[in-house]
């Protein structure tokens, strides 16, 4: 399985994402000017500050040649994972529902926290367990407050698109309904604010991040 990690000017977590992907298969960087994803089986849009995050986080990156290719790839059912800034980019691109706003307390948050992973249908964990899983994963962002209008929230909850929630009492940014990550209706596009790519080695305290990458790989399978 070949993973492609998109690199924009201003990305900063693409190396860790590449490393995480390489634990599950082959991985290569996809420069933002590339518009050919031939051979790539799954795409990661990594964290950072693409194009300086000018205007709104993710607003400019959305129009890069690589993102046009990612949109086509996603439309064809290809698995796409957006992490932090990548999540913001996917929301701006309309590939995921909702938007990410400035943290409620206006502070940049950087901490280890726990996520509750919803039982997915297509984005299932390899064991296929239906119980809710707790993942220890770090989060670091200034604009991670998940927002969607009430009706949209009700709709994504009803259709099982809420992929990750902050564990009770651990919502770091004021996200509505503690939402940390969502997926699209088809289930092949997933985005979350916390950083699974920073939690793939016991050296850094947790390997739970791999579960997120495995869930994305399972879409392909």
């Amino acid at each position: 399985m070949l993973w492609g990690v998109v690199q924009f000017p201003g990305s900063c977590d693409e190396r860790d994402a590449l490393h995480a992907c390489s634990l599950l298969g082959e991985a290569r960087m996809v420069w933002h000017e590339e518009c050919d994803l031939a051979g790539v089986d799954a795409v990661v849009v990594p964290g950072g500050f693409s194009y300086g995050d000018y205007l709104r986080a993710g607003a400019i990156a959305r129009f890069s040649p690589a993102m046009e290719a990612v949109a086509e790839f996603a439309a064809a059912g290809g698995p796409v994972l957006g992490i932090c800034n990548g999540f913001q980019v996917l929301c701006e691109a309309g590939l995921l529902p909702g938007a990410l706003l400035r943290n409620e307390d206006l502070r940049f948050t950087c901490r280890q926290l726990e996520l509750l992973a919803a039982p997915f249908d297509r984005l299932t964990t390899p064991e296929g367990g239906q119980s809710i899983e707790r993942l220890a994963i770090p989060a670091k962002h200034g604009e991670g407050r998940y927002y969607a209008p009430q009706e949209m929230l009700d709709q994504i909850e009803a259709s099982g698109q809420v992929a990750y929630r902050y564990a009770p009492g651990q919502n770091p940014n004021g996200s509505l309904r503690d939402i940390a990550g969502v997926r699209n209706e088809a289930g092949n596009v997933l985005g979350l604010m916390p950083h699974p790519e920073h939690a793939v080695d016991p050296l850094t305290g947790s390997t739970d991040g791999l579960r997120v990458f495995e869930a994305v790989a399972a879409v392909r399978a």
Partner: protein, 77 residues
């Protein structure tokens, strides 16, 4: 070229922590009695085709899910 100013602000009902922070700072400076502060963004531009400004706002300058915008012409009447 048509000169225009676009005002972008958080939609009504969306929590605006920047506005709240400004509002909370005002009394300390002696400015009492100020409320409902909302912080937005202003973009000035010159466009060959002002007819396309709304489309441009919808696609890039504002995120219609979370922001409202107003286009104001800067050319005299």
């Amino acid at each position: 070229m048509a000169r225009a100013r676009v005002l972008i602000r958080p939609k009504e009902g969306i929590l605006d922590p920047q506005g709240k922070a400004v509002e909370r700072a005002l009394p300390a400076l002696g400015f009492d009695g100020v409320e409902h502060v909302r912080v937005g963004r202003m973009v000035e531009l010159e466009a060959e085709d002002p007819e396309r400004l709304s489309e441009l706002c919808e696609k890039l300058l504002a995120n219609p899910l979370i922001e409202d915008y107003e286009i104001e012409s800067l050319d005299g009447p």
